[in-house]
Symmetry: C3
Subunit: 148 residues, 3 copies
């Protein structure tokens, strides 16, 4: 693959971090949408959650998530550019994601983010996002998480 | 804001990592002071701990912390430059901080570091540092931590 | 020390991440070997595990590890270049390493990776690797881990 210029690498890593930061605000759905193109494929089916298309689906999903969530913390690591072709790229990061529900339930997820990104006039944006697990959820949480 | 040159970004990220590394030595107070300007505002009031000014206050704080600590591990992630103006900048990082006390108590903190830094003849140094929590401490630990 | 060019810094960080990623595949021993020179010193004695030399020893070690492992997750952070001399360098990273055994045992390690790397015609490769612990293992796991 073409080598990814450092400026683009940093901008793409910043995009993934801005996603985690907005998710952890437990309120900033505009900040989440700003990470994605208007018609992005937002796909959490790999971790037993919905798949949707575009800002509307993203708003609906996080509206529901945030309604039940007290606190979030998503720590990214192992950032890697897995493909680069000038105006498109793919990146992967590991995530330790912790959610504390308003009902007191706490869940810790060890997974990976996969972002396909495209260069736009407003900078890099994601047009496809999916996740998988690095470690399985405990059985009790998998049930609560809707993966059974 | 002005764009942060990559060399400065890396130097500032290295500064935050050198802080975590010195804290995790459980001994290297000189290494901690080397991160900060002589008159830095060192403010942990956001997590229920002291606020002090300058190397003297930093030495006193870590003298007390290290006296009771057996091991430390502070894992930084989600590094972001939040402001840049040539010779000053602000940066944020997430931290998973684990402390093991000599009495066997173990505490895990999920929080954020906020550093204001200034370019000096000896490289970037922090003149203001504060923290907040991403996740609340468990009640039992919050009591031990002095946040109640 | 000489300043490490950004391209080399990123390539060396990518090498450490590719090691973690291959370890987390729980299968890709070729990917692990690709991180190391043919005669690398692979030394886990600092965490109570074997020390061996070269790809043969690495293959034997991970053959045994993977035979008993269900899932792995190794999250790197606090990446630092600790030495640089043009065609050789040393780097350190923190790791949160989680292993889930096929028998259901789960172990979490907080440690540090130390890599000595050398520039080759196929890019940077490690010719020495060792680890230490940031936090002690719980007594029950230390016994299972063979460190007692």
């Amino acid at each position: 693959m073409a080598s990814c210029p450092i400026e683009d690498r940093i901008a793409i890593e910043d995009l993934l971090i801005s996603y985690a930061t907005a998710v952890d605000s437990v309120s900033d759905i505009d900040g989440i949408c700003a990470v994605f193109t208007e018609d992005a494929d937002f796909d959490l089916s790999g971790i037993g959650l919905p798949r949707g298309k575009g800002h509307g689906a993203i708003r609906e999903f996080f509206g529901n998530v945030f309604a039940g969530t007290s606190h979030h913390a998503h720590h990214l690591s192992n950032f890697t550019i897995t493909a680069f072709a000038g105006d498109t790229a793919s990146a992967r990061a590991y995530v330790i994601g912790i959610g504390l529900q308003k009902d007191g339930t706490r869940i810790t997820v060890h997974g990976r983010y996969y972002f396909d990104v495209v260069r736009t006039s407003a900078g890099w944006k994601a047009n496809h996002y999916h996740m998988d697990f690095l470690l399985p959820l405990p059985d009790s949480l998998a049930a609560a998480h809707g993966t059974d």
